[in-house]
């Protein structure tokens, strides 16, 4: 249950049994070809997998590199979140649960969870900070339209971190009939591992697609944005055994790997933004999906091993990257995903990415949700 010294299961005794059941169920399901086939079928028919690999022809020409985009923005509900949620909802059904519990920040994971719940005929209870509820009223409405219950969280800064705490509190009293559907490679074991496995479809597909699209079969660089880090974890999983250099791009104000220190939060030992007294800080990013003060434990492990590196970009670079990608490729990326684009643009300009490099970049989601925010900014 560890990634090096990170990971673990730092949960109250009351949740130990539930976590173990999830782990056992997942191990059994993941080893069961019937489950894998059913999941693969759902990802094909309901999510739109495989997602395309799009050569960013015009931006590549401008940057002097070959940039390939793995298009998670084209999935149902518009981001990679759905891959994981469909997997977990299928697992919950297999376990006999009738309800999904989830936390959400901007609402993407909440919408994905509500979507999967509707598909499987489960009920869904989504915890969301009151401040996020105000800021993301449309996603709240969307969840409710999909039949989910959205519970406002009024503690702390009333954002994602508090919503996660409240969801875990709720789960303590509801383990009998409810399944906790974690949105990223965070939380107690088996979540960081399980969520990575459900997301590795991104990396596995991209690996196969690169083998066709690139003469060298494997890209020189594999780049993905990192909040908790699930799209990056899934992408990296497909390339960790290759020569590709792995780069995770964090938000300047939510850089768990780059600025965090050792800690435990929401059940997992990893790196977190915290003050000198060990109080966990609020993250601040233009991208709500990166607005979490920690990072998945496997990322810290990959960093310690030297297998992946983690970098940051600032909000201004991100906004520029959204516009540049839109103008050159006709793709309006999510602000989260644009972090990865921003780093590639900067790295190509300053020589960090040598001219002629081949780069696979996971475009984790679409920017529709960010249009109002961008309108204010531009």
């Amino acid at each position: 249950g560890r990634f090096g010294e990170y990971g673990g299961r730092y949960v109250p005794e009351s949740l130990i049994g539930a976590c173990r059941q999830v782990e056992e169920a997942f191990r059994s399901a993941w080893a069961d070809p019937a489950f894998r086939n059913q999941l693969a079928g759902l990802l094909a028919t309901h999510v739109g997998r495989p997602t395309p690999l799009t050569p960013a022809v015009r931006l590549s020409a401008e940057l002097g590199v070959t940039l390939l985009l793995k298009r998670e923005d084209l999935t149902h509900t518009g981001s990679h979140k759905i891959n994981n949620v469909i997997g977990q909802a299928l697992l919950a059904t297999r376990m006999g649960h009738k309800r999904l519990i989830a936390e959400t920040g901007a609402g993407q994971h909440g919408v994905a969870t509500a979507t999967a719940a509707a598909m499987f005929g489960l009920s869904a209870t989504v915890f969301m900070g009151e401040r996020d509820i105000e800021r993301q009223a449309l996603n709240v409405f969307r969840m409710r339209m999909l039949g989910a219950e959205v519970v406002p969280v009024r503690t702390g800064a009333r954002t994602l971190k508090d919503a996660t705490s409240e969801a875990m509190r709720h789960w303590v009293g509801a383990t009998e009939d409810s399944y906790y559907c974690m949105g990223s490679v965070l939380g107690p074991m088996p979540y960081p591992w399980m969520v990575r496995e459900f997301q590795r479809v991104i990396g596995d597909e991209a690996r196969r697609q690169c083998a066709t699209a690139l003469p060298a079969a494997v890209p020189d660089y594999v780049v993905a944005c990192v909040g908790g880090g699930s799209n990056a974890a899934g992408t990296f999983a497909g390339f960790v055994d290759t020569t590709a250099k792995l780069v995770g791009v964090e938000a300047e104000g939510g850089a768990g790997a780059t600025r965090g220190t050792l800690g435990v939060l929401h059940g997992v030992r990893s790196m977190f933004l915290q003050d000198d007294d060990g109080q966990v800080l609020e993250a601040h990013s233009i991208a709500a999906g990166l607005d979490y003060p920690g990072i998945g434990p496997e990322h810290v492990h990959l960093r310690d091993l030297g297998r992946a590196r983690y970098v940051t970009v600032d909000d201004a670079e991100v906004v520029d990257a959204v516009v540049r990608l839109a103008r050159t490729e006709g793709i309006v990326a999510a602000l989260e995903s644009a972090h990865a684009v921003a780093w590639v643009i900067r790295a190509a300009a300053d020589g960090t990415l040598p001219a002629g490099s081949t780069v696979l970049l996971t475009l984790s989601g679409r920017g529709d949700k960010d249009i109002s925010a961008l309108k204010e900014l531009l």
Binding site: G1, G8, R9, Y10, V11, P12, E13, S14, I16, G17, A18, T155, G156, K161, D162, S165, M168, R169, V172, G173, T175, T261, L262, G263, V264, L265, H266, G267, R269, F272, Q274, D277, G278, Q279, V280
Partner: protein, 243 residues
């Protein structure tokens, strides 16, 4: 730590730094018959706490309470009854000197609700007693292990839920207490949801003692003076001693 074996143990809880005069409250609790005191070291994300202790934690952090400040205040009052710190794993994991600092300030034990059996090994065998928790969902096999590895006492969580006052003592408490007391040589203290003298008396029948947390902090947050808090604890004490 040394807990009395001649009567039922009463361990009230206080959030360190939640109000300015919290050590006055602490003294009042000792005077009112506390056998030990659990002192909460505030953490930004108290995931096993209900609304009251969350509020107390928030109040402490808002007032600028720090670990160092709390330890200083504790060292001034230590020595009368055993003191047990409770906090979350983050504070423990990040600082190698954490346990020794607590011991130096006068703490005798440590409760970390999100440090279960699987993760506690590196914090055992310190000078500080690491108190383990058991819950109604804990299997017998795990209870054996918890009873074996806990130090000072075993904290039996009465409900599948967070800290906080409840109308009645959970039915799950009796079963857990029974399963645990037959396994443990250490005292078994029941906690979570105990707030009235009647509940305390009932709980004390089932085990070796009780922890009173949210009911205390509700009063503290509502502005109860130390004497008032002492009177409340005395009513608990009396109910427990009468059985």
């Amino acid at each position: 730590m040394k807990l009395p074996s001649d009567h039922k143990i009463l361990m009230p809880y206080l959030t360190g730094g939640a109000v300015a005069d919290w050590t006055d409250h602490l003294r009042a609790l000792v005077d009112a018959g506390a056998d030990a005191i659990e002192i909460g070291l505030p953490f930004s994300d108290p995931t096993l706490d209900g609304a009251t202790i969350q509020e107390a934690t928030h109040a402490a952090l808002t007032r600028g309470a720090t670990l160092r400040g709390i330890l200083t205040r504790v060292s001034e009052v230590a020595g009368t009854v055993p003191l047990v710190a409770s906090t979350y794993a983050n504070l423990v994991v990040r600082d190698r000197a954490f346990c020794s600092n607590l011991r130096d300030a006068g703490f005798d034990g440590l409760i970390v609700p999100d440090l279960p059996l699987e993760e506690c090994a590196e914090f055992e065998n310190q000078d500080l007693d690491l108190v383990l928790l058991a819950s109604p969902a804990t299997t017998d096999e795990r209870l054996d292990e918890i009873a074996r590895r806990s130090r000072g006492f075993v904290y039996a969580v009465t409900v599948m839920g967070t800290t906080g006052e409840r109308e009645t003592l959970a039915a799950s408490a009796a079963d857990l207490a029974r399963r645990l007391t037959t396994r443990s040589d250490l005292p078994v203290l029941l906690g979570f949801g105990i707030s009235t003298p009647a509940q305390a008396a009932q709980a004390a029948q089932l085990a070796d003692g009780v922890v009173i947390g949210a009911a205390i902090m509700r009063r503290v947050l509502d502005g109860a003076a130390p004497a008032e808090l002492g009177a409340y604890l005395r009513s608990i004490r009396e109910a427990m001693d009468e059985g």
